[in-house]
Amino acid sequence: MDSLTTHSGCVLHLGASLTQQFRQILVRFCHDSEVRYAALLEESGTVCADAGDPALRDAGETAALAAGAFAALQAVAQRLGDGTFEGLFHEGKKRQFCLTPVTPQFMLLSVFEPPVRFAVVKVCAARAITHLQEQIETMPVSSRAMTPAGPGVAAGDFSFEAAALFRQV
């Protein structure tokens, strides 16, 4: 089961081997550029794959904020007449990060610290993005079709226990 379906209101279906391929690309990117942490994010704020310092992982707060900031800045760029949004870069004293578009739906988050230079990260990120795009694009077209639920997600594949929903304490 290794497919990817992308459509608002539908299911993004990440198979184990696809996720591992994403992760291998990110591991290589971290190694080549010396970024401390890299993550492939989906526009709704979900981490699809990541690599690097596990201390920079969280329950999803960073991904949600990053996806929101990315979408907001992209919208600002479009409103100001720039349809070719190339991402954003934060130059902090202690830590720096950049968000770069991979496809209209995915973005790459790269976190790094001095003395790693943005120019180096940018070059390495461009290479990683090409590989990530290849992985996304080489998936069978049928797997990327706009279906209500991706292949392999049929009735009964995932059963759920309503009793296990949330209780207040």
Binding site: G9, E43, S44, E61, V153, S159, L165, F166
Partner: protein, 209 residues
């Protein structure tokens, strides 16, 4: 959009709380954050103005093992209610798997309820997500205040279309029906996911907290 990651054995859903300005969307998330086990939630992130009005969104990740063998994450968002933040609302609604519409029960807020209700549907349509196919719950909040609007009147205003949504009368400040609202939406989203058909989901019945 639900995201299934077979490698990490996680399924994620995005649930968005929309509604009337100052209607109690952030209060819903704050209450959930304060009353859910720490092992079932992340941090509550609030992007607000100096006077505590939501500027961009609030965010709270919660999770459970409701799907067998998979950690099930619900990413809870609120949108800013104020009219001027329409573009932001549309952005936050992108990829939503379900929505809660939080309406204000005070009689003088009915006009704003209606405006926000229509605006939410327009935002969803503009995002390519027909409201008719999206799991949704209506929450009539602030029932604890004096002289709330009759439920039948609010139903007439907001829930008289061909699709009748489950309704919860709530008081988010005290937590009344806050968890019931969350669980009802989660259940509807899971049913839709389970059946793999947006229109196959059966609306859950309102339940007590």
């Amino acid at each position: 959009m639900a995201v299934i990651n077979h490698d990490t054995r996680e399924v994620s859903f995005k649930l968005v709380y929309c509604g009337t300005p100052m209607g109690g969307k952030t209060t819903n998330l704050s209450y959930i954050h304060s009353r859910i086990g720490a092992d079932q939630r992340g941090d509550l992130v609030a992007l607000a103005t100096a006077n505590d009005r939501t500027l961009f969104f609030d965010f709270l990740p919660v999770h459970t093992m409701v799907i067998n063998g998979y950690k099930t994450k619900f990413l809870l968002y609120t949108v800013p209610g104020q009219v001027c933040y329409n573009a932001t609302r549309q952005m936050v609604l992108r990829g939503a798997d379900g929505v809660v519409f939080v309406a204000d029960s005070q009689l003088d807020r009915m006009g704003e309820n209606l405006t926000a209700w229509q605006g939410m549907q327009r935002n969803l349509e503009d995002n390519g997500t027909p409201f008719a196919s999206l799991p949704a719950i209506l929450q009539f909040n602030k029932r604890d205040l004096a002289n709330p609007a009759p439920v039948s009147y609010m139903e007439y205003l907001l829930n008289a279309g061909p699709r009748r949504l489950p309704v919860f009368e709530a008081a988010a400040t005290t937590g009344h029906n806050v968890f019931a609202t969350l669980n009802a939406l989660a259940q509807e989203v899971l049913q839709r996911f389970h059946h793999g058909n947006p229109r196959a989901a059966t609306a859950p019945q309102p339940a007590s907290a």
